[in-house]
Structures are given as C-alpha cells and as structure tokens.
C-alpha cells in the first residue's frame, strides 16, 4: 500500500485479513494527509443513486461490522444525518432526491427538522432524516485498522517516500524503490489519496486526481446534546456534485465526541494552496449561524484546511490497472474517502485474492478517463 491514510489503512486491514502479506509505505505519518483534514463522515445522505451510493451502502455495513470487530475504539457514532431545506423549492428537490435514494436502499424520512434539532433556526421549509449516516474519528480509525493489520503480520513504514516502481521483464511491477530501500511486491496499491495522481504518474499509468480545498471551523466544546446529528443544508448535495472551480460553500454542522462542533464545508480548486482564507471562514461561520442562531455566541478554537482527492467524474478510482500489471488503485474518493474506505479495502482484497468483488468495479476503473482529461 502506498499511503497510510484511511483508505490505505482499510486496504491493509482487509488484505491482511484475507491472508496477504502487506507492507504500507507512507511518506509522512499515519493519517497525515486528507484523513486528518475532514469530519470523519460515513454518509449515504449526500449521494445520488448510482455507483457511489452502492459503494457507500456496502461501506456502511462494513463500518458497522468493523466497529464491532476492531477492539480499539474509534468513536464510531451512528448519529444520523438531518438535511434541512430552507425554501419550498429546496424541499421539493430534497424530497425527490430522497425518493430516489429510498429506491436504492437508503432509509430517508421526511421530517420536521426542528423536532430532531431543537436549536435549529425556525426558518426552514422542511427536512429529511437519514438515520444510517454515521461519523467516525478518522485518525483513530486509521490507526486502529493499521494496528490490527500489524497484528496479522503487516509492516508499516512511515517517513518513507516512494522513489520509483521496480519492473520485471514484462513491464509488470515487482516492487518499489523507496527512501528506505527496496521492497518486493506482487501488487502495489495506490492509496495516496489526493497525491494518487503523482503515484500513478510515477507508475506510468496516469489518473486525474486533483485537489479540491476545504476549510473546517472548530468551536469551543459544547454540551453533547446541543447538536445531535450531522446537520446540513440541502444545497450541499448539489455542491458536492458540481465541478465549478470557484468557491462554493454549503453549511454542514455537527458535534464530536470531544464536544467541539465542526463547521464546513467549502470547495475550491486552487491547487495545493494552504493559505488561510478569512473570507471563506467568515462565510462558513455566517452560514452556520444561519442554521443554528445560538452559534453566534460561541467562540471558535481554530480552523483547519485540507484537500479532497477529486476526479473529474466525482467517482473514485478502484481496482487493478490494465495498463500496468501489478498496479492497483484505491484513491480519488473526494470528500467521501473515510466513508468509502471500508468498501474500498474489502473490494481490493477480494480482487487481489481472486474472489469476485461484491460490487461491480467497472464504474471505478482506472483507465476510464479520456486521454485529453489526463494530460
């Protein structure tokens, strides 16, 4: 595995469980990339019917089972999501999305959101409750799955960069050249997240993974009952699916086990620019206050920034790459990598051990992008 973020950790876990010998190479520390820059979402609510929702539903079942099987706690919280429509037009869009999701197997109930979230603004047209949405502390989860993989014999090499792919006579991969020496491998899994494009390029099989920047605000700790669900506005789904390069924000508010409340979500395509942007933070804060007026009196502790690994069609890249024997991708999950990690790891392990993957991988195939998109 290249990458010890949530996806690499899940791949390591399921491959080790399947009896494969696993080594994880990570240039930074465990969970030091996008895994530590998000909210830890395991969501079905924000996905339109299609391959990504199917992947999310599979992942939801697997996360529930991981929560029961992996002893180290990682704050898996089946808190549910509440999507709020502020206008009748937004409500009609939301209820038709929910109808499609229900047909695909999602539990989605039209509700009065102020009954589920008493501190919510009264200026709402309605909402939908998604009881299956969960949250996890992603850094703890990545560490716990890697710990479990190590107990099954996996090795984890942090602070180690991939320098080159080693090739056999047929051009197939035989291992990696790393900053800590050579590693032999029958397969190399590209789980480098937002940097998956660089690893793919190094392997000679490009995939167009690009950074989509997001900021999150962190409030001072509040009592646990103040915000009970993941609460977000109905325009979030449209923003997730959009391909606009300019700034988009849609309000997402949720509590954490620690008591802090996380406020997102912004989307911008500005490369890997980590510069703090006060206008974006101000906009996120104003939107959160619009949803939960009491937040106006709550101070912020800090903000953080990260880069979602974004592909032009908003689908991840999962599975063996037919262009380079031995190269396997598990990257490009955009803002859903924590949630989709369990299914991704499970499907990768199935495809490497010769089992029929539980889900059709063709929508996620690495060579689906037109050449001009890649270049």
């Amino acid at each position: 595995m290249v990458g010890a973020g949530m996806v690499g950790a899940a791949c390591a876990y399921y491959c080790a469980e399947a009896g494969l010998r696993v080594g994880v190479v990570e240039r930074g520390a465990v969970a030091s990339g996008t895994t530590s820059a998000g909210e830890g979402n395991i969501l079905v609510s924000d996905k339109e019917p299609g391959p990504e929702l199917d992947l999310a539903l599979l992942s939801l079942r697997l996360w529930t089972s991981l929560g029961e099987r992996v002893a180290d706690g990682f704050e898996l919280d089946p808190k549910g999501g509440v999507v709020v429509a502020r206008t009748p037009a937004a409500l009609s869009g939301l209820t038709s999305l929910a109808a499609g999701q229900r047909a695909a197997g999602v539990t989605a109930e039209v509700v009065d959101p102020t009954e589920l979230e008493p501190r919510l603004t009264r200026e709402v047209a309605g909402g939908v409750h998604y009881p299956q949405d969960m949250q996890v502390q992603p850094m703890l989860a990545a560490a716990a799955l890697l710990r479990h993989a190590r107990s099954l014999g996996a090795t984890v090499h942090t602070g180690t960069s991939v320098l080159a792919f080693r090739r056999g006579g047929d051009g197939g991969i035989t291992g990696l050249r790393t900053s800590a020496g050579d590693l032999d491998a029958q397969w190399v899994i590209n789980a480098a997240g937002t940097w998956g494009g660089e690893i793919a390029e190094l392997a000679g099989a490009p995939v167009p993974v690009l950074p989509r920047r997001g900021f999150i605000l962190v409030t001072q700790p509040l009592p646990p009952s103040v915000i009970r669900h993941k609460v977000y506005s109905a325009d979030y789904v449209a923003n997730v699916a959009s391909s606009d390069a300019t700034l988009e924000t849609s309000v997402v508010v949720e509590g954490t086990r620690a008591g802090t409340v996380l406020i997102g979500a912004s989307r911008e395509r500005v490369g890997f620019d980590r510069t703090m942007s006060l206008p974006v933070l101000r906009k996120l804060a104003a939107q959160a206050v619009g949803l939960f007026p009491f937040l106006a009196e709550v101070d912020l502790l800090r903000s953080y920034v990260g880069f979602r690994p974004y592909c032009p069609d908003h689908l991840p890249v999962i599975g063996p790459d037919p262009r380079v024997p031995g190269l396997v991708h598990a990257c490009g999950h955009e803002g859903a990598g924590i949630g989709l990690a369990a299914a991704t790891g499970h499907l990768i392990a199935q495809s490497l051990t010769g089992a029929t993957p539980e889900l059709d991988l063709s929508p996620f195939r690495p060579d689906r992008f037109a050449a001009e998109v890649v270049s």
Binding site: Q220, P221, L222, P223, V226, G259, E297, V298, D299, L301
Partner: protein
C-alpha cells in the same frame, strides 16, 4: 481600578489582562476541565490553548489571557464548557 473575581475584589492596572491580574493576586487556576474537573489556569498565555477560560459579566469561555480587565467587571471561575 478593580474587578470582582468570584466576589473578591482584585486590583488591576490599566490595559492588564484578567489573567495577569489574577496571577498577580496569587491565583494559579480558575477553570476546570470538562471531563475530569482538573484545574487549569494560564498555560500558553497567548490565546491558543483555551485553558484559562473565565466567565466575564455572565459570558462564558472568555480567555483570561486575552481579555482586558475593566473596572467593575464581574469575573467568575468556569467549570467545564461553561454551558451548565
């Protein structure tokens, strides 16, 4: 000038922070952590750690190290999140 801290009068200089005035008056801690109730006071002193929280004129979660003392302020020690 002076302010009240849990009902006791604390002398403060102009432009002095509440935290500095409390330290000068001999206090070391005035906030308790939200889970274990452990004592906290000035740690970083520059507004980053949020350990030195006090309630100022009824408003919780004010950082004593950054909040300027004003004559007649009513300052209280804060337990946990300050939200009851």
């Amino acid at each position: 000038m002076s302010f009240l801290f849990d009902g006791k009068e604390i002398a403060a200089d102009a432009s002095q922070s509440i935290g500095a005035a409390l330290i000068a008056a001999g206090y070391r801690s005035w906030h308790t952590t939200r889970h274990l109730g452990a004592p906290r006071g000035i740690f970083c002193g520059i507004g980053i750690c949020f350990d030195c929280l006090v309630i100022v004129n009824g408003r919780p979660n004010q950082r004593a190290c950054l909040t300027e003392a004003r004559d007649g302020d009513e300052v209280c020690a804060q337990e946990g999140t300050g939200h009851g």
